[in-house]
């Protein structure tokens, strides 16, 4: 920085440097001291003031910082002789930005640029300000000015980038691209072009306008030499030729690429695409809305005659064979996979070559079947096969793996692969129970046998047979699902926990465990396993779906709040700060990255999870404070009475939602957060591959966010309606609530029912019938909680109707008591999904209804609490509505009491007894099938293993294994969750008792 200091703002560097040093080392008090003495000498220096503001901001005093900043700004504007150097401005900029006043920073720079129109440094600062504000038009104008001033290529490219961004993000007219093209052409004519990135921009500009031939011309001309890596250049050339539909030329280029880089899969697909004159792949490669975009694509053949197809496929075969020969001695999978791709295309064309297709898959297995990547390599090929062919293929694999007598590691790898293929094809779900069980036992033995192979491995290396335990656990979960025998699930937990004891870092074990624990209500333990994944940064966006959904429906509010806050903080910070990084790309002349990066920011901004989390974080606050109407009103005030969320709900309909979650890591039984096969029966199940999960989700997620966004406002309006209703009902016997508030609530209710797929009147009919028992609660489906929310707000909208109060009371009673009855004395492991629903009912609709009651009660009390006792003689006369409120309190009280009682019974069940019960499900029956066999195999091995055999690390780990400890942890976690829930129920009950007390005075 030294050179920059000089005489900033007229202050010598030696006076300023100690202050910067103090700031950098976070010694703010010292910095302030030094600054005070500096200011005494330079009281009118904007730079000194800017520094002062910076220190204040860092010390957490935003108001002081802003005031000082504004002083500095005034001085800058006023003082004609003042030195408007970049250092002063950039320091001010930093503070303004941190105070969320980008506009003020921009205006400072704009002012400075106006005063010193030829100062490039200041203009760059201004450009930077516009980058931060995502003002692409202004960026463009500033960059053009700089280009005119300095004539440098980079400034022109900054302008061109800004134009491209206008077209991509602001959807500005594509005519702008023509302008950009013209600017570049003119520049090239006079100055040529010197940077590879600039060339890339030029080509992309032409591509965006579908001027593929022009782009090709540029690439093959002098400028093409800017691209130094030959393959890169050929790839671009191939793409341009393909898009220009010059397929035969493209085929030649792609051939060249493949000869240079025979493992380039995307290139091979493009080669095939061009060979078959099929442009459908471009649509596919453009679809980036998946964290792992699939590279297997549908093919279009209808325009080809059989002869054409035959001749082209045979030339592809020739090429592939050549590539295979050329790479014989290397370990490349690409050319072999290409052979399968060719068979697949033939199959899809209708060649009835299924034998050959299977054979090619088998060949690939014999070559690469021992590798962990085999299954995922062939996944997409298997998908085109009909079910019986898939089964046949599995049979072929089994037969061939037996015939190969290879080394232990190869055998282990192949066995693992076969199981993975069985999982992948759904074949495993068709096997008889006994067979699955036997297979799981066999795998457990294999795992044990092979442990010695991992004896000398570094702790961070993956072990041999690591995946076997995940596969076993998947089988056990399936056995549980089909038999409903809890022992299998318990066994799955044990297998995975044992695996973690041996190898603590295996993420698959942790993820599987967290889902099993979530399912049986040991959510605190699930959360612990989730935390062990060390999810942070962008992973909060891609991975937190594993736990977020369960946490939202749980009473673990503190952990949930941390989870949401961490996630939102990461996203908010990124969105706020990412523009700083954009400028980095401009400065390093990485123009294509500028575009990518801005689009990436949009991608995160449009994340469905981000939108949902923002709403959920507010709802959580509302839930947490619902027992005190005063607290709740404070929360609502901070939420601007929910108005913004209503706007969000409205906008949501037309917003693009992006899905950045990595769903591929989820276990088979819950392919997305909203789905859990274990909750249904095996008979209803039809195996569906994990692909395309997001497509089904989009509409549901959108509607859920829209619905939830209305809730804060409806709570607010309900409180408003209630606040006046009781008084009015007594005084005027009218309908209560002020007209405007009620009108708004009504329209939101109509919106809300629409999102539930019903009309307002049908919705009322529905809940009335359920309350009367004329319909079962099943008709509400999975939206039960939303329906109850509707009922609560509907009642709040029409408080004077006693009948509505009555319907609502009955509804709560029925939905809660039915559930408690069905749970009976079964333990948490088997009824957690019911507990989840109860948690939601108690904390959401019931909580909101309690708020309505609190508002009614408060308004019925003539004055503040202090005078309550003294004045309860002059209270308002009783009215039908007061009675309705009283009845409701009474009804809710006893309903909540039922929940508390059920929870208390569960909690009072001694832990030891529960541990005992859990362990008893794991007892194996030596003569028959059932749970326990797998664990027995593993534990027998542990008992007999020797240090010399498995190595000291594994040996020591095995010694620490205890089945009972794991069981106790599970039981303790379940208890902890129940206690948290009980606490919530008790707090609701206390609130209701208090309200009951207060109402006796009315």
């Amino acid at each position: 920085m030294a050179s920059k200091f000089g005489l900033a703002g007229g202050i010598p560097e030696r006076r300023v440097r100690p202050i910067w040093d103090a700031i950098d080392s976070r010694q703010f008090k010292n910095a302030l001291k030094l600054l005070t003495s500096l200011l005494s000498k330079y009281p009118k220096s904007p730079y000194a003031l800017a520094l002062k503001a910076l220190i204040h901001e860092r010390m957490g005093k935003p108001d002081e910082a802003l005031a000082v900043c504004l002083d500095a700004k005034d001085l800058l504007y006023k003082d004609d002789s003042s030195l408007m150097d970049d250092l002063t401005l950039s320091t001010l900029q930093i503070v303004f930005q941190r105070l969320d006043h980008l506009d003020l920073a921009t205006s400072c720079y704009a002012h400075a640029c106006g005063r010193f129109p030829n100062n490039l440094e200041l203009m760059m600062g201004l450009f930077n300000c516009y980058v931060r504000e995502y003002s692409f038009v202004k960026q463009q104008q500033t960059a053009i000015k700089m280009y005119k001033l300095a004539g440098e290529e980079r400034f022109l490219l900054w302008a061109v980038c800004s134009i491209q961004l206008q077209v991509l993000c602001d959807k500005s007219g594509e005519k702008l691209l023509l302008l950009a093209e013209g600017l570049l052409k003119k520049h090239i004519a006079s100055h040529s072009m010197h940077e590879p990135e600039a060339l890339m921009v030029y080509i992309s500009l032409l591509e965006q306008q579908s001027k593929y031939n022009d782009a090709l011309e540029v690439l093959s001309g002098n400028l093409g030499s800017l691209l130094v890596i030959e393959v890169d250049k050929l790839r671009i050339q191939g793409r341009l030729l393909a898009r220009a539909r010059d397929y035969s030329a493209a085929v030649d280029v792609y051939k060249k690429v493949l000869e240079l880089s025979p493992d380039d899969w995307e290139c091979f697909l493009q080669y095939l695409g061009c060979l078959f004159e099929d442009d459908s792949m471009w649509k596919f490669f453009d679809d980036i809305d998946q964290i792992h975009p699939t590279k297997h694509i549908e093919c279009k053949f209808s325009h080809l005659t059989e002869e054409m197809f035959d001749s082209r496929i045979s030339s592809a075969s020739e090429l592939v064979q050549k590539l295979q020969r050329d790479t014989e001695n290397s370990n490349l999978r690409g050319p072999h996979l290409a052979e399968i791709e060719i068979e697949k295309r033939k199959f899809l064309f209708g060649k009835k070559n299924d034998r050959e297709l299977l054979k090619s898959l088998l060949q690939y297995f014999l070559k690469f079947g021992h590798l962990a990547c085999y299954a995922s390599d062939v996944e997409a090929f298997l998908q085109v096969l009909p079910p019986h062919k898939k089964a046949e293929f599995v049979g072929m694999l089994v037969k061939n793996s037996d015939s190969v007598s290879a080394s232990a590691t190869i055998e282990l790898g192949q066995t693992t692969t076969i199981l993975k293929v069985q999982e992948l094809t759904g074949n495993i779900f068709e096997l008889p129970l006994g067979e699955i069980e036997a297979s799981a036992v066999k795998l457990a033995k294999l795992y044990c046998q092979n442990l010695p192979l991992s004896k000398d491995l570094d702790p961070q290396e993956s072990m041999f047979g690591e995946e076997l335990l995940s596969l076993i656990s998947n089988m056990l979960v399936q056995l549980f699902w089909r038999t409903r025998h809890f022992g299998y699930l318990a066994e799955a937990i044990m297998v995975l926990e044992l695996g973690l004891t041996i190898r603590g870092h295996v993420w698959q074990y942790k993820i599987l465990l967290l889902h099993i624990y979530s399912y049986i209500g040991a959510l605190p333990l699930a959360f612990e396993r989730y935390k062990a994944l060390d999810v942070k940064n962008i992973l909060t966006e891609t991975v937190s779906h594993h736990i977020l959904h369960q946490m939202l429906e749980s009473p673990m509010w503190v952990d949930l709040s941390n989870l949401l806050q961490d996630y939102l903080k990461f996203m908010d910070d990124h969105l706020k700060e990412s523009a700083d990084l954009t400028f980095l790309a401009y400065r390093h002349r990485n123009y294509s990255k500028v575009i990518e990066f801005v689009l990436f920011k949009e991608r995160l901004q449009q994340s469905n999870q981000y939108e949902a989390a923002r709403v959920e974080a507010s709802l959580l606050q509302l839930k947490q404070n619902a027992d005190s109407i005063e607290e709740e009103e404070r929360v609502l005030e901070n939420l601007k009475s929910g108005v913004q969320f209503v706007d969000l709900s409205k906008e949501m309909g037309s917003r693009t939602l992006r899905f950045n979650e990595d769903m591929q890591t989820r276990p088979w039984w819950t392919p997305c957060p909203e789905k859990n096969y274990l909750l249904g029966s095996f008979e209803e199940f039809s195996y569906c591959p994990k692909e395309n999960v997001n497509k089904d989700r989009e509409e549901n997620v959108r509607r859920a966010i829209q619905r939830k966004s209305l809730v804060p406002r409806m709570i607010y309006l309900s409180i408003q309606c209630s606040a006046t209703a009781l008084k009015e009902s007594v005084e005027t016997n009218g309908s209560g609530g002020d007209v405007k508030t009620c009108g708004e609530l009504k329209s939101l209710l109509e919106e809300y029912t629409k999102m539930l797929g019903s009309s307002f009147s049908d919705a009322v009919g529905m809940i009335t019938e359920i309350s009367q028992g004329a319909r079962t609660s099943e008709s509400l489906g999975s939206d039960l909680v939303d329906w109850l929310n509707f009922a609560v707000f509907w009642n709040a909208w029409s408080l004077s109707s006693q009948e509505h109060w009555h319907v609502l009371n009955l509804l709560f009673e029925r939905l809660i008591l039915d559930r408690i009855k069905s749970m009976g004395s079964s333990d948490m492991s088997s009824c957690y999904s019911d507990v989840q629903v109860l948690v939601q009912i108690i904390t959401e609709p019931l909580g909101w209804h309690c708020l309505v009651i609190q508002a009614c009660t408060r308004s019925s009390l003539p004055t503040g609490k202090k005078k309550k006792k003294a004045q309860h003689s002059d209270h308002l006369p009783s009215s039908p509505m007061t009675q309705a409120v009283k009845d409701s309190i009474h009804s809710l009280c006893s309903t909540v009491q039922e929940v508390s009682t059920w929870l208390t019974n569960q909690i009072n069940n001694p832990e030891d007894a529960q541990v005992e019960k859990f362990l008893s499900t794991l007892k194996r029956n030596e003569d028959a099938g059932g749970p326990g066999h797998v664990l027995w195999v593993l534990e027998s091995f542990i008992a007999s293993s020797e240090e010399s055999e498995v190595g000291s690390r594994i040996f020591e780990a095995l010694k620490t294994w205890s089945k009972a400890d794991s069981t106790r942890k599970t039981v303790t976690a379940q208890q902890k969750l129940l206690r948290e829930f009980l606490q919530i129920c008790e707090s609701k009950r206390e609130l209701l008792e208090k309200l009951k007390q207060q109402m006796t005075h009315v």
């Binding site: 920085m1 899969w265 792992h292 590279k295 290397s330 961070q460 993420w507 990255k593 591929q664």
Partner: protein
């Protein structure tokens, strides 16, 4: 494309997912962004046939001394995709780009003393040599080998080398602007704190 291609910003999502599955790193997202926005030519991913990112290399340029050199910041390959030569290919690609695009004279990296697998890869397959041992380099107190490999160092493009003339807050082609450096708290941050 399989095998090895340059990373895009969108790849960051999958690249960081690799960390879940390989070694957990303490690099913040900004550190990745800082690399990709500054030296995009040096970031390569290994993408598998089904479109999944199964490995990546993160590298940068440094000009501490007169010799412009590259530095490998991070190398990761999924456990399921080891022993396929992907690490070698990623490294080779990054090294080639350092040499061809930036004219680097040598490339350096740090490796944990205990990481035998990586050490063997660097010395035996890739031809790195120990330059120095940095005591307690890692946060957990482990030593690092400072390793180097000479490149031919033929400068083809001066593209990066004039980058530092217009830097706001000083530094060479390797330092970012002050803000970025300030927030870089990576394991390997020592090399970047050239403020």
């Amino acid at each position: 494309m399989v095998c090895i291609r340059r990373a895009t910003v969108d790849d960051l999502l999958a690249m960081q997912a690799c960390n879940l599955m390989c070694l957990p790193e303490n690099y913040q997202m900004k550190y990745y962004l800082y690399h990709i926005l500054s030296w995009p030519q040096l970031l390569y991913v290994a993408e598998d046939y089904n479109g999944r990112i199964v490995g990546y290399v993160l590298a940068k340029m440094e000009e501490e001394s007169n010799e412009c050199h590259g530095h490998i910041t991070s190398l990761a390959v999924l456990r399921t995709h080891r022993k396929l030569g992907l690490a070698t290919k990623l490294m080779t690609a990054a090294q080639a780009a350092m040499e061809q695009v930036y004219g680097a004279e040598y490339v350096s990296l740090h490796v944990r003393r205990s990481n035998r697998a990586a050490f063997n890869l660097y010395t035996e397959t890739l031809g790195y040599q120990i330059n120095d041992v940095e005591a307690k380099y890692y946060a957990d107190g482990e030593d690092a080998y400072d390793m180097r490999k000479n490149l031919k160092g033929k400068q083809i493009h001066h593209h990066a080398s004039h980058g530092h003339h217009h830097h706001h807050h000083g530094g060479g082609c390797c330092s970012g602007d002050a803000k970025v450096v300030e927030t870089t708290q990576a394991e390997d941050a020592k090399a970047t704190s050239s403020k």
